[in-house]
């Protein structure tokens, strides 16, 4: 098998080799396209992550409150978004919801994918946040209440700072998943890595090189997230509470 990595230096229109591999205003190489696609992947993932963390934290907290209607609301949210395949959810946001709510037609498909992926992941994060909070001994909540904290203060000062640390390892997996799951965006024509791979290998007949590079970029991106969150985890550890194993 002969691999020809120079494919990335070709112009995307006429197939000519471009000196230095990076194009300019007139010429776009496959490397340019690859980097832009990587940028789209990271953008979809990063924005969806923000949506997922914000919604997941709120819903997870609601599910641990002593107020029944809030618990039911949170449970319904979680079950709704985690029981439908993520690809189907992307299609729902892209095809169905704008049809039902004409106002949403003005929203670019990029943002619809962000919402779809974000809400899907929020259901999973809410489950982890709920489990994290519920794993804290009940006595912590009682002790905080006994000191005169209001319920929001109990969460703010006692439960969440502890839950946050418990939830970090599963949250790391979830953050890596969101990068990988962002590949579903190709289905609604977001020019991210997977779409790049599909199109570029057809144009160049160099599928192996292209898929290997794309694989490498996904792997590297997820690994980077993993390392960053691992550092956060180490920084936040509480002396005397958690035995650190390297």
């Amino acid at each position: 098998m002969d691999l020809d990595w120079r494919v990335f230096c070709r112009d995307t229109i006429d197939g000519e080799f471009v000196r230095g591999c990076l194009g300019d205003a007139e010429r776009i190489t496959y490397l340019d396209w690859l980097l832009s696609a990587w940028g789209w992947t990271l953008s979809v993932a990063a924005l969806a992550w923000i949506v997922a963390i914000a919604a997941g934290a709120v819903v997870g907290v609601l599910r641990t409150t002593p107020h029944r209607p809030l618990v039911i609301l949170g449970n319904a949210w979680t079950e709704l978004f985690r029981n439908i395949p993520v690809l189907v959810q992307v299609f729902l946001w892209y095809h169905v919801i704008p049809a039902l709510f004409p106002l949403l037609r003005a929203i670019p498909s990029f943002l619809l994918v962000v919402v779809a992926l974000g809400l899907y992941t929020s259901a999973r994060i809410s489950e982890q946040v709920r489990a994290g909070i519920q794993s804290i001994p009940q006595g912590q909540r009682l002790a905080a209440l006994a000191l005169g904290f209001t319920l929001p203060q109990v969460y703010r000062h006692v439960l969440l700072p502890q839950a946050w640390r418990i939830v970090l390892p599963p949250l790391t997996s979830e953050s890596m998943n969101i990068i990988k799951n962002s590949s579903v965006a190709f289905a609604v024509s977001i020019p991210e890595l997977t779409l790049f791979a599909l199109q570029a290998q057809e144009e160049t007949a160099r599928g192996i090189e292209i898929y290997l590079i794309v694989t490498g970029l996904y792997f590297f991106s997820a690994l980077l997230v993993n390392r960053i969150l691992h550092i956060v985890e180490m920084r936040l550890r509480i002396p005397g509470l958690i035995v650190v194993t390297k």
């Binding site: 912590q140 009682l142 002790a143 209440l145 000191l147 005169g148 502890q162 005397g240 509470l241």
Partner: protein, 242 residues
């Protein structure tokens, strides 16, 4: 100070408290004892409304704890509570454990809270540990911090829920010493405990509970001399036999 008036509580159809009534006056130290499952921990948690109850009334300093109009946070802020498992906040230093409620609940300035916290920490003999985390202290030390944390709120009374039953034997006394001192200063205290030595030393009254009822509520001397009920006699015989 604490008036408990015909309180009953059910978990589903199971009755955990039946018609409990007692009154704890200002400066009084009352020990609540009884076999496990007798409802003593539940009763003490009802006093600051950590546990709801279905019937009866509890008033602390004249304020009903079951009245929906009562500001429970405000009431609890001045009723100190010490738990069996200490319940210090593990993610905060000892110093922050002592300060946070003073600042967030009572609205004290951080410096003021700190000064007060450190003074109390000194009183329980742990000033040198102010910057450690709870997980770095022994159980007895943690419980002394927990007492200091409750005292930092200037409580009008203190509730102790089995404060020594999670401790190793050699650490029990360091905690009891702090409690004895507190009692001698005239603090109103309701103490759920099996430490009969403590009861003998500082209690004014002993309440004996069994199966959710207050079976005996007598001055200490009478209780130790000869409890009226057979169940209390059997309990005492068992607990004092070794």
């Amino acid at each position: 100070m604490i008036e408990i008036d015909r309180v009953s509580k059910w978990y589903g159809s199971f009755q955990v408290l039946s018609d409990c009534s007692t009154h704890i006056g200002k400066g009084e130290v009352v020990v609540v004892c009884g076999p496990s499952g007798s409802g003593k921990s539940t009763l003490i948690k009802c006093v600051n409304a950590l546990e709801p109850f279905q019937k009866g009334e509890i008033r602390v300093n004249g304020i009903s704890v079951s009245d929906p109009k009562t500001n429970l946070s405000q009431l609890r802020a001045h009723v100190g509570m010490v738990f069996q498992h200490f319940e210090l906040f593990p993610h905060m230093t000892i110093c922050d454990n002592l300060c946070i409620a003073q600042v967030k609940v009572l609205g004290r300035l951080r410096e003021e809270a700190m000064e007060r916290g450190l003074r109390l920490l000194d009183r329980v003999g742990l000033k040198a540990h102010a910057h450690k985390y709870p997980g770095q202290l022994s159980g007895g030390q943690q419980q002394r911090v927990a007492i200091a944390r409750a005292l930092a709120m200037d409580p009008i009374c203190m509730l102790f829920d089995e404060p020594t039953s999670a401790l190793d034997p050699e650490m029990i006394n360091e905690v009891l010493d702090v409690m004895v001192e507190l009692a001698s200063e005239g603090m109103t205290m309701m103490v759920v405990t099996h430490e009969m030595g403590f009861a003998r030393k500082v209690a004014h009254r002993v309440i004996f509970m069994d199966q959710g009822r207050i079976v005996e509520d007598t001055p200490k001397e009478a209780f130790f001399a000869m409890p009226r009920s057979e169940r209390a006699q059997a309990f005492l015989a068992k607990i004092l036999s070794h």
